[in-house]
């Protein structure tokens, strides 16, 4: 993790953006640290790409400030900013060779021809494309184009690398491979990466911290684990992975715990980090499918609830069950790892569910 004493490489202060009447960014505040892998995650239209393009200089902001390395960059054009971008379409120049593409930004660097050649060679090697320099850019595959785009941006040693949905055009296998590779590359070069993605899994895998955006606002900014375990609200919980929601009523509120009554599960004492209103108020609790466990013959647990299996879906490594808890208004999803000898419950079977209050999140 990062040294918190360091100056942030990017500071966003009250950034607003209007397109005519449309309010695309509604007061974005965030600080992004030196060498951090930072993701902007959200559904399409949430403003994440607008924010990235504002950092790159392709969009003017309507109000607020963007500080790059401590300097306000208002009015500074993209070619004068210490940022480089990997575009969603990769934007590889089709009329140039791979080496000419990668060396494109060095034109004004004052390097000699042989220095440039060395730099291009190193950049290509870094992304695993050594020997590809003389190839025509339009003859490359999707994954190779992506690597050329990375090399072309990283060769300029930017303070911040901006990536606009760089993996969305790749097929699943290639995408998974590039996720780990991008992470490795980022650690290797130590440059701050800002990734825009709508894929929550991708953001969780790659990022140091994630800003989840809805409708032009940051709903939550946290490291992946905190985001997954303690979503700030129902919407974040729904967007990141799967989450079951059950109605709950606050029945007691002490200094260290809040006690809630959840139909179908019973009473639970929760940490009051996101305590809603007072005693008697209606709330809801969130539970991840993997923090509910089906009990098979002979197993036991501290807290057990009963229900009926309504549906099951087989995923190969996992089976997901929809279970209606006795006395609960809606079904909950339960994920179980498929293990040798473990039987699969059928629709209509009675099921015992073990649960743990520590995995519950309370929403107001």
């Amino acid at each position: 993790m990062k040294d918190t004493n360091q100056e942030p490489i990017i500071a966003l202060q009250g950034v607003h953006k209007f397109y005519g009447e449309y309010h695309a960014l509604r007061g974005i505040d965030a600080e992004i640290g030196q060498g951090e892998f930072f993701s902007l995650l959200g559904p399409s239209g949430c403003g994440k790409t607008t924010l990235l393009r504002a950092i790159a200089g392709f969009e003017d902001i309507s109000s607020g400030r963007i500080l790059l390395d401590g300097r306000d960059v208002e009015g500074v054009p993209p070619n004068k900013r210490p940022t480089n971008m990997v575009f969603q379409s990769y934007a590889i120049f089709p009329h140039l060779s791979v080496a000419e593409n990668v060396g494109f930004g060095l034109r004004k660097s004052g390097m000699s021809g042989s220095e440039k050649q060395t730099a291009v060679g190193q950049a290509l090697e870094m992304v695993g494309l050594d020997g590809f320099g003389s190839r025509a850019a339009h003859a490359l595959s999707g994954g190779q184009r992506q690597r050329v785009a990375l090399a072309r941006a990283l060769i300029l040693k930017p303070k911040v690398l901006l990536l606009d949905e760089p993996l969305s055009a790749l097929d699943k296998k290639m995408r998974e491979q590039m996720q780990t590779e991008l992470r490795r590359l980022q650690r290797q070069v130590g440059i701050t990466f800002i990734l825009v993605t709508h894929d929550q899994e991708e953001a969780l895998i790659m990022s140091d911290r994630i800003a989840v955006m809805f409708e032009g606002e940051i709903a939550q900014l946290a490291p992946p684990q905190a985001l997954y375990r303690r979503p700030a609200n129902r919407r974040v919980g729904e967007f990141i992975g799967m989450m079951n929601f059950l109605p709950a009523r606050v029945i007691a509120s002490g200094g260290a715990t809040v006690e809630v009554e959840v139909p179908g599960l019973g009473r639970a004492a929760l940490a009051p980090d996101q305590c809603p209103a007072g005693i008697g108020s209606e709330a809801s609790i969130g539970l991840r499918p993997e923090s509910l466990t089906l009990l098979f013959d002979g197993q036991s647990a501290d807290r057990v609830a009963q229900g009926v299996v309504e549906e099951h879906t087989y995923y190969g490594d996992m089976t997901y069950y929809d279970v209606r808890l006795d006395g609960a208004p809606n079904t909950v999803s339960v994920s179980m790892r498929n293990m040798p000898g473990r039987r699969v419950l059928e629709r209509g079977d009675r099921a015992d569910l073990a649960w743990d209050a520590r995995a519950m999140v309370l929403f107001g």
Binding site: A56, P78, T83, N84, F87, F93, R107, A139, L156
Partner: protein, 266 residues
């Protein structure tokens, strides 16, 4: 199906048979344009080389066509880029009015240009013809270059700026090479349109006739018809070569840009 095939063949015969007659009579040893053919001769081509007025008209036409092609393509380039990359007030209306000469009757354009030019005291000359031709060629240039810009990923220009280039050097290093096939196509099309344009040239050329205007004048002398046939033959051959060149550049451009061929501009 059979009926359709006959229709297609008849259509092609109607379209091209008159053009095939051109070289036939250009090499025919006789002043009368009628069958049977009299024998083979190069006389009419030799006579072409001896006609002073024809040479002047040819030089006028080529100068006008080249200048028109360059000017119209430049204007087309600006308009197509503006239309594809920028949002400005009354954009639709402005672009619509620029494209209007495409459908305006040429005779109206010619007459109004003549009136306007005489009003502001310009004498009909090569330059007034160029002005008229630029007016009617620019919409074609825009139409061709619009396609080039629409095919081009906008983030390519952004990428160049992001990599440190100014908007101007981006235009030179990225935009221009990528729309070059469109530029060449536009130059060739505008050249061809200007070269065989008659009405505007007829009204605006004054005493500096272009080739079509000169040919029209020669039609009064039946004895000159075989010479005109010979000239026509040369023009047809040149046009075909020009179109083949244009198509070659278009395909090469597509290959270099890695795009799929979706049919030519012809």
């Amino acid at each position: 199906m059979r009926g359709l095939r006959i229709y297609a063949v008849a259509y092609l015969v109607f379209l091209y048979a008159p053009i095939v007659l051109l070289p036939l009579f250009a090499f025919n040893d006789g002043t009368i344009i009628a069958f049977p053919l009299q024998g083979f001769t190069f006389d009419w081509f030799i006579e072409l080389t001896r006609t002073e007025a024809l040479h002047d008209a040819t030089v006028n036409s080529i100068f006008i066509a080249v200048t028109t092609a360059i000017l119209a393509t430049c204007f087309g380039l600006f308009a197509a880029r503006a239309g594809n990359r920028h949002v400005f007030p009354a954009k639709g209306g402005i672009l619509g009015f620029i494209m209007l000469p495409l459908v305006l009757p040429e005779i109206i354009v010619a007459v109004s240009l003549l009136v306007a030019m005489l009003q502001i005291g310009l004498t009909p000359s090569i330059w007034t013809v160029i002005a008229g031709h630029v007016l009617i060629c620019t919409p074609f240039a825009i139409a061709i270059l619009n396609g080039s810009f629409a095919n081009m990923d906008q983030s390519l220009e952004e990428a160049a700026v992001d990599l440190g280039e100014t908007p101007l050097s981006t235009f030179r290093l990225v935009t221009l090479p990528l729309v070059m096939p469109g530029i060449i196509a536009s130059l060739l099309i505008c050249f061809t349109i200007s070269l065989d344009e008659f009405i505007i040239a007829f009204f605006l050329s004054g005493n500096e006739p272009t080739l079509p205007v000169y040919l029209w004048g020669q039609m009064r002398f039946p004895g000159r018809l075989p010479v005109i046939m010979a000239l026509g033959t040369i023009l047809v051959v040149l046009s075909i070569m020009l179109l083949i060149t244009a198509e070659y550049f278009r395909r090469r451009g597509l290959r270099r840009a890695g795009l799929r061929d979706t049919g030519g501009f012809l």
